[in-house]
């Protein structure tokens, strides 16, 4: 496995703070932290190992995967777990080992199931405070805005944040999610796209109105983590990425969509300019 980051245009990530005004981030942080105190959030990321997207050297880190726990449950425990779901009757108990639960499945965890998985089975949910301002149906439709819109609640509770996202240089937005990490938690290194198989680098803008979230990129156990210390950026999700632990709550938002072509070309020009070797003296 290559230790180097695939990055974008030869850079580990693209710093967007040069081209997008972030002077509103203080106000957004106040709106978001107040809003999060009142809305219903969800946990996510507990099945990343089962999905096979966690960095190989992180697979044995001791944090239990939800699907691994579900597969290992006794029939009695499984009954308790299913009973807390939205439609217990729809699960064929005789074929329980063929049924999947969690992210990217038809049976996402209810709040009660998350609690049971955590409390009884030791499952680790990296993002315990996740909130969709604009939802996608499936992972692979996150770049299409067709038929989608910000939720009524998001527009009511996070109006300035929604306005900011609408101002970003996308021709369409297919997903907008807030990912919050509780104190002392970390997000495991994982990648969203297998290098060489996707048609392109997923176009997304990530921003953290509050400084301090140590989002990082790392493609081998021996490589130094590249911590992204910019408030707004675009990274290549073919690279393994995660969040380092810190003793306080942190969050960021990820917006997926299609960049305006002129924006992408401007970014490329800037990247190539940075890559130019310094003139000899």
């Amino acid at each position: 496995m290559s230790a180097r980051l695939w990055g974008i245009w030869g850079d580990p990530y693209v710093d967007l703070s040069e081209v997008i005004d972030t002077s509103c981030f203080g106000a957004l942080d106040r709106e978001i932290t107040l809003g999060l105190a009142g809305v219903e959030t969800e946990g996510t990321g507990a099945t990343l190992k089962w999905m096979g997207v966690v960095a190989p050297w992180m697979m044995d880190d001791g944090h239990r995967d939800a699907m691994e726990a579900i597969r290992a449950m006794s029939d009695e425990d499984f009954e308790d777990f299913v009973g807390l779901g939205d439609d217990p009757g729809s699960v064929d108990r005789a074929r329980r080992h063929e049924v999947t639960f969690g992210d990217e499945t038809d049976r996402t965890f209810t709040r009660a199931q998350q609690r049971l998985l955590t409390l009884r089975h030791g499952v680790y949910f990296p993002w315990k405070c996740c909130y969709h301002l604009l939802s996608n149906e499936r992972w692979d439709d996150k770049h299409s805005g067709a038929g989608k819109g910000f939720s009524d609640e998001a527009q009511e509770v996070f109006p300035r944040t929604v306005d900011f996202v609408r101002s970003l240089p996308f021709t369409e937005v297919g997903r907008c999610v807030l990912f919050g990490v509780e104190a002392h938690d970390h997000a495991p290194l994982h990648r969203d796209t297998e290098p060489g198989q996707a048609l392109g680098v997923a176009q997304s803008i990530n921003f953290a109105p509050r400084p301090g979230k140590r989002f990082y990129l790392q493609n081998s156990a021996d490589a130094e983590p590249v911590v992204v210390d910019r408030p707004i950026y675009w990274f290549n999700d073919m690279d393994y990425h995660g969040v380092l632990a810190d003793p306080f709550f942190r969050y960021s938002l990820r917006v997926d969509g299609v960049f305006a072509p002129s924006f992408a070309r401007d970014l490329e020009r800037r990247a190539r300019l940075r890559a130019r070797p310094a003139p000899a003296r």
């Binding site: 695939w6 060489g196 048609l199 392109g200 073919m238 960049f259 020009r269 190539r272």
Partner: protein, 415 residues
């Protein structure tokens, strides 16, 4: 059923193919629903023009191979552009598209896109749907897939020492969403032919311990290049009042691709030698050095290639006052970019263009009047040429010169 409903239904059928999934451009339809039906004789004539033009370009490359001083003295290529040619020559061709128009005097061509031709997905998918609706007519693109794959495999077998992995990399600007339909099509074709396909940009290129090019660390014996030759090299604007800040070549990517190619580890398609024929000054060479071409090619040049000259070879005053008779084209402009049609601009704009045209980068080409239909549209017949032989047809219609807003038109061949 309204026209909008008819188009929506057509768009759904088209998208269901999984190759062309963007039937609208800026909210307007990109495609015409009703196919153009060409008489078989017209299709044969167009095919012949495409093949003849490709043969002329092959002679251009042979002349340059014999006289490399032309690279700098005539074409004005940069050092890295010359290196691309010198490491690939005489190879330049795999797949190309000749843009052919019908005029009152017969056929005329505007260029042979021999570098990174586009339009294959639209042509193939539109043809497939049209043929379903009209089984009595022939789809001129029905054989394009087989011809492309056969050519790619033959090229690899000829340029790469065996044994080699049946793995291909498609290299293109992955950070942009244009031309993804082309990537989908090439990936589909190669995968169906049993190739492992890796997708990536030049920034993801490297070489393995054996010297083979890698894409995302996976060794590939074939690199399908959909990244224009001039984008790999030193870049400068064709306009003297504009500075491109990102002028440096993609050195590391070039070292990987060219190195693996020279050492017969990885074949590049289209070969980097396309840097010469893709340069519009190749058409100026056809006319300024017409005596160096074979009699057959001289005849083709005189018949279908509008008179072309390096801008600096013409008398400046002549070009200035004959605005309506000329079209200016920059060396590496494509798809209508950096094309100035004299009769489409004012005299003031024309003179400003002439004043700002960076010396050594432009040609002037005689304007020709393409025949327009009753609706004022002209038709651009894009003849795909694979390994020198006509293999498909991509038709676009638009009032005036062809650019990205042209409507792609399904085409079928009648009796």
């Amino acid at each position: 059923m309204t026209a909008d409903e008819r188009y929506d239904r057509f768009a759904a059928r088209l998208s269901a193919g999984g190759v062309v999934i963007d039937p609208w451009l800026e909210g307007s339809p990109r495609f015409r629903v009703v196919p153009l039906v060409l008489p078989a004789e017209r299709w044969r004539a167009l095919a012949r023009v495409g093949e003849q033009l490709a043969a002329v370009y092959d002679e251009v490359c042979a002349i340059v191979a014999d006289d490399p001083a032309l690279l700098e003295e005539f074409f004005g290529l940069t050092p890295v552009q010359r290196a691309l040619w010198l490491t690939s020559q005489p190879l330049w061709h795999g797949i190309a598209r000749a843009d052919v128009f019908v005029t009152a005097e017969g056929f005329a061509v505007t260029e042979l896109n021999s570098d990174t031709p586009t339009g294959e997905p639209e042509a193939v998918e539109l043809g497939r749907l049209a043929a379903q609706d009209h089984p009595d007519l022939r789809d001129p693109n029905e054989g394009l897939r087989e011809r492309f794959v056969t050519m790619a495999e033959a090229l690899t077998a000829a340029l790469v020492d065996a044994p080699y992995p049946r793995a291909a990399g498609i290299v293109y600007p992955t950070e942009f969403t244009e031309d993804l339909s082309l990537v989908r099509l090439y990936r589909k074709w190669l995968t169906e032919a049993g190739w492992e396909v890796v997708l990536g940009s030049p920034y993801n290129l490297g070489r393995d311990d054996e010297g083979r090019a890698t894409l995302f660390d996976r060794p590939v014996s074939l690199l399908v290049r959909h990244y224009k030759t001039d984008w790999w090299t030193e870049r400068s604007s064709a306009w003297s009042d504009e500075t491109i800040p990102d002028a440096a070549p993609l050195t590391e990517a070039l070292e990987a691709a060219l190195g693996a190619s020279v050492e017969r580890k990885t074949a590049v398609l289209n070969p980097f030698g396309a840097v010469v024929p893709q340069n519009k000054r190749a058409m100026a060479l056809m006319w300024e050095h017409v005596h160096r071409f074979s009699p057959a090619s001289q005849s083709v040049i005189e018949r279908i290639v509008p008179f072309s000259s390096r801008l600096e070879s013409l008398h400046a005053e002549q070009v200035r006052v004959q605005r309506e008779q000329w079209v200016l084209k920059s060396d590496f402009g494509a798809e209508g970019d950096e094309v100035v049609i004299g009769r489409a601009v004012t005299q003031e704009e024309w003179e400003k263009c002439l004043a700002l045209a960076r010396p050594g980068r432009w040609i002037a080409q005689r304007y020709f009047e393409a025949e327009a239909g009753a609706d004022g549209e002209t038709v651009n017949y894009g003849v795909f040429v694979v390994a020198g032989e006509a293999a498909g047809l991509y038709v676009r219609a638009q009032p005036g010169a062809t650019d990205v807003h042209a409507l792609s038109v399904p085409v079928l061949v009648g009796p």
